[in-house]
């Protein structure tokens, strides 16, 4: 990492200061945001709700003895299988939510992390990965993806053996948002694929479509009025039993139902907004109606960062988005590599994605999902603290998708999704050696035929393991 800082650092420092105050360094807090400089957006995010079928994370991790043996999907009485253990030994563990642990062991049971730390006892039956010299990160999360999994629903449409899937796993990615669903890249199995459905309600609130903007406002106002009427009715009913309930049939389906969910805080809105004006308008909407909004793009977010922080709007950004400033505009504009850093510095939670949402094998690479970690490294080039950059593709990405109770950090009780890599995650020579999804080895560099000439050990002539394909060709059988 130090290397990146050194060769990126010089450029990064020179222009930032004039535009925005530098980001205060923070190590411990899992939330960005400076309480002194800005009104606190949301100290511990009480509005982010868990799906009702999931127990709270603390509860889950607290009662390991019972909860671990239960099947994940819950409700269905399944045939009880033997417990599935996986242990990763001797690695440097970057837990993201806590400190970096040297020479630590991670034990996973049935796809969940059950113990982390140095000297943790390993169950006898466990599949052991000796990861001495490797770094373990939580599996990376791509908040946008195309063509890695199938359509909707992913567990019924996905091909779990595609080359794209392997490549994404090779990039350390374990969870993606596909369509409106957060799903795991479960290579070779369809089990436990879906993490969360109905991630976002997409809204259109940009200057390019004023009519849609007006419609959205009107609908939100109408639904808000309904909520107020309902509240008034509740109050009146106690005094006057003959009070008439407001008609809410129209809000049971269609757009109104969606907006009702938004206003009640049961759903998150996703808006595409790049320019300062659109961002400001979106912030206004979020504040006025008290809805939770995630903006995608936010190219000029750095110019309105305080506004976004106040409105509690979260951002999905691409640090390498370039857009030369228009000098005729009498305000800061255009895209800058410091966007992520400035947003983060003002307390806007940031997830980072590359500009291409798929995996590309042809032409010039470098901006597709295979470089998710490098995209975050470019955030560092723009001044983002390294730990924040790692969080932007792990824990903060999980929070933006609302799945941080399951993935995003290495913590007891969370899913056993790891990227076991050769070095610092943000370094450009780092590659994944193993990728673990739900406690199963989904990617093993040594056995993989894709990019077989690139070896983690550096020896490209090293023979592949015996159970790697192709095998038994000719007389060897």
């Amino acid at each position: 990492m130090r290397m990146i800082r050194s060769y990126l650092g010089a450029l990064a420092l020179c222009t930032t200061l004039a535009i925005a105050p530098p980001a205060p360094a923070r190590q411990d807090s899992s939330l960005p945001g400076d309480p002194a400089a800005q009104p606190q957006p949301r100290p511990d995010r009480p509005r982010r709700r868990r799906p009702p079928d999931q127990p709270p994370p603390d509860q889950r991790s607290g009662s390991e003895g019972q909860s671990e043996a239960e099947p994940r999907s819950g409700g269905k009485p399944e045939k009880k299988k033997d417990d599935r253990f996986l242990a990763i030994k001797g690695a440097t563990v970057h837990s993201v939510s806590g400190p970096v642990l040297q020479n630590a062991t991670i034990v996973c049971t049935n796809g969940r992390i059950t113990a982390v730390g140095p000297g943790v006892p390993v169950p006898e039956k466990a599949e052991v990965i000796d990861a001495a010299g490797f770094h373990v990160y939580p599996g990376l999360i791509a908040v946008r993806s195309i063509a890695l999994l199938g359509g909707d629903p992913p567990e019924d449409t996905s091909d779990v053996f595609t080359t794209q899937l392997v490549a994404a796993l090779g990039a350390g990615i374990t969870t993606v948002a596909t369509g409106n669903t957060a799903a795991k890249l479960t290579y070779g199995t369809l089990e436990d694929m879906v993490v969360k459905r109905n991630l976002f309600e997409t809204i259109r609130y940009g200057s390019s479509d004023p009519a849609a903007k007006r419609r959205l406002r009107e609908s939100l106002e109408k639904v808000r009025q309904l909520l107020r009427d309902q509240k008034a009715y509740e109050e009146e009913r106690s005094r006057n039993p003959d009070a008439k309930a407001p008609d809410d049939k129209w809000a049971k389906s269609g757009e109104a139902a969606t907006h009702l969910k938004l206003l009640k805080g049961e759903a998150t809105a996703l808006a595409d907004a790049e320019l300062a004006y659109d961002l400001e308008q979106t912030c206004e909407l979020a504040e006025e109606f008290g809805i939770r909004v995630v903006v995608r793009g936010a190219r000029e977010g750095w110019t309105v960062a305080p506004r976004m922080a106040r409105a509690g709007v979260w951002a999905i950004v691409t640090p390498r988005t370039r857009d030369d400033p228009d000098k005729r505009l009498m305000r800061p504009n255009g895209g800058t590599i410091e966007n992520a850093a400035i947003l983060y510095g003002h307390g806007v939670p940031v997830a980072i994605v590359p500009s291409q949402a798929g995996v590309s094998f042809g032409g010039l690479g470098g901006r597709d999902l295979l470089q998710l970690n490098l995209e975050a490294a470019f955030g560092v080039r723009g001044g983002l603290p390294e730990d924040a950059a790692v969080r932007s593709i792990t824990l903060d990405a999980a929070r933006i998708l609302g799945i941080d109770d399951r993935v995003g950090s290495i913590q007891v009780g969370k899913d056993a999704d790891f990227a076991i890599v050769t070095g610092d995650l943000l370094h450009y020579t780092t590659i994944a050696r193993w990728t673990i999804v739900n406690g199963r080895v989904a990617y093993d560099k040594e056995k993989e035929t894709l990019f077989q000439h690139i070896r983690t050990g550096g020896d490209e002539n090293a023979p592949p393991p015996k159970d790697a394909w192709p095998r038994r060709l000719g007389q060897e059988q």
């Binding site: 595609t162 035929t449 894709l450 060709l473």
Partner: protein, 477 residues
């Protein structure tokens, strides 16, 4: 000896023909079957490949009335026997093409059609099956076209006496798992419905039993003493298969030979409970005919055709198995093929674990995204599967190339004995006619192929084809 007629449109005619045949031959059988009445054919071959693993040099086959009676060396047979001299040739069992349309048109049908049969759509007389004969196929398993659960396939000899072309029972229930999620949903719903129908019948039967017991108890209470001639049997005797027929095929016409059996109580196989006046016969409720084949499979009835799953990629195998979870008793065959870049290497371990019967084309495969070739058929055998080989399409060139392509596989690691099995025994088993066809063994039909070389010699050509003990085709030269 008497064969069941298929349900072609000429079913009636066939029945008459068969009845006459049966009447003619019945006395002979009854008389004890002296050698004078039986038609002996003896094949003297340079080499007999039995298909089940044995290869006999200078072997002989004694055929009686179209069925194989003896296989070996220096066998005894009456002097009146017709001797077929093939001392320079190799004799192998007639191959069974276990997956073909035989030139019939395809349909755009989808959904559940378990009641459809190929037998309903073909006119055997109008079909030209010479290309099959030329390639050494003595039987074809013609499947119903479409997607979803398309119906039950039918097996026909490629030549032979008109009344004995159909091989019954045979065929499989064809199900596609090609277009997701539609096909997956179709199978899932069909299994659910079939199960519901079974439960419905079972419940009706229980109700009926309860009612009958109640009535008996009442009778016993009303009468001064219980009727002694009717002790309350713990297991009443409703027909054990409550649904009409174990198979969608109509009950075979067996009026002729079954004359002596007519005075016996009705055999179990009579599908419909006799609609006589006595109300103590259980009448099963109507079930959906399109789901009956599946119901039979789930109930594991004798003679129920296996489920054949068509899958174009490894992932779709997982999708199919996921839907079939909990239906372990359902016997199934898989057809692998049709995909653009099949990645069946990923499914080998799983299929081997399940000891699947797999139909696939004789071809080398390529690991996805590489130029490495692998021998799928050898891998499947090595993993513990049974493999049947069938060409992917029915052009005469492809049909004739099957043996040569199989020889290719043998050169790349497939064992010869496995290759022979894949062409003969396993193919017959996959078509559901393993009891009648597929090997040269006592009791099987004398459908033989005479080659002027070894079965795996690419230059060897079919010289003669024998069906039911009679040479029906000869090479012209």
């Amino acid at each position: 000896m008497v064969r069941r007629a298929s349900s072609t449109r000429r079913g009636g005619l066939l029945a008459v023909a068969l009845g006459v045949l049966a009447l003619l031959s019945a006395p002979a059988v009854a008389a004890g079957g002296g050698p004078a009445d039986e038609e002996f054919v003896v094949v003297k071959a340079g080499k007999v490949i039995t298909g089940s693993g044995e290869e006999i040099d200078r072997g002989e086959i004694v055929i009686v009335d179209g069925q194989i009676r003896l296989v070996g060396r220096r066998l005894e047979y009456p002097k009146t026997a017709t001797v077929i001299h093939a001392e320079t040739q190799t004799v192998m069992p007639g191959m069974v093409h276990c997956r073909t349309r035989a030139g019939l048109p395809s349909y755009q049908r989808s959904g559940v059609h378990g009641d459809l049969k190929t037998a309903d759509e073909i006119y055997l007389d109008e079909m030209d099956l010479e290309s099959f004969l030329r390639a050494g196929y003595t039987a074809v398993n013609i499947y119903p076209a479409g997607t979803g659960i398309t119906g039950v396939s039918s097996v026909y000899r490629t030549a032979g006496p008109a009344g004995q072309r159909a091989v019954t029972p045979g065929g499989y229930l064809r199900t596609t798992m090609i277009s997701l999620p539609r096909d997956k949903q179709t199978l899932r719903d069909a299994l659910k419905k079939a199960k519901a129908e079974i439960d419905k019948v079972e419940k009706a039967r229980q109700d009926w039993e309860a009612k009958r017991k109640e009535a008996e108890a009442k009778k016993a209470a009303e009468g001064a003493k219980p009727p002694e001639q009717q002790p309350p049997s713990p297991s009443p005797a409703p027909p054990t298969p409550p649904t009409p027929g174990p198979q969608p095929s109509p009950t075979p016409p067996k009026s002729g030979p079954q004359l002596p059996a007519a005075d016996k109580p009705a055999p179990q196989e009579t599908a419909k409970p006799a609609g006589d006046a006595s109300g103590d016969q259980f009448k099963p409720p109507e079930t959906d005919p399109s789901h009956r084949a599946l119901m039979d499979l789930i109930q594991k009835k004798d003679g129920a055709p296996a489920l054949m799953l068509e899958v174009p990629s490894a992932s779709n195998i997982l999708h199919a198995l996921e839907v079939l979870q909990g239906f372990d008793q359902v016997t199934r065959t898989l057809w692998l093929g049709g995909g653009f870049a099949p990645d069946f290497n990923n499914a080998v371990a799983k299929l081997g674990e399940l000891k699947s019967l797999v139909i696939t084309a004789p071809a080398m495969h390529r690991l996805p995204a590489t130029i490495n070739r692998y021998n799928l058929v050898a891998e499947l055998f090595g993993a513990g599967c049974e493999v049947a080989l069938a060409p992917e399409n029915d052009s005469p060139q492809d049909l004739e190339a099957v043996r040569a392509r199989t020889a290719d596989l043998v050169r790349s690691g497939l064992q010869r004995s496995d290759a022979v099995k894949a062409l003969t025994v396993n193919a017959a088993k996959a078509a559901g006619v393993g009891k009648q066809l597929g090997s040269i063994e006592k009791g099987k039909d004398a459908d033989l192929v005479f080659l002027d070389g070894d079965v795996l010699d690419p230059g060897a050509r079919v010289q003669r084809v024998m069906i039911l003990g009679k040479v029906v085709w000869k090479a012209k030269d």
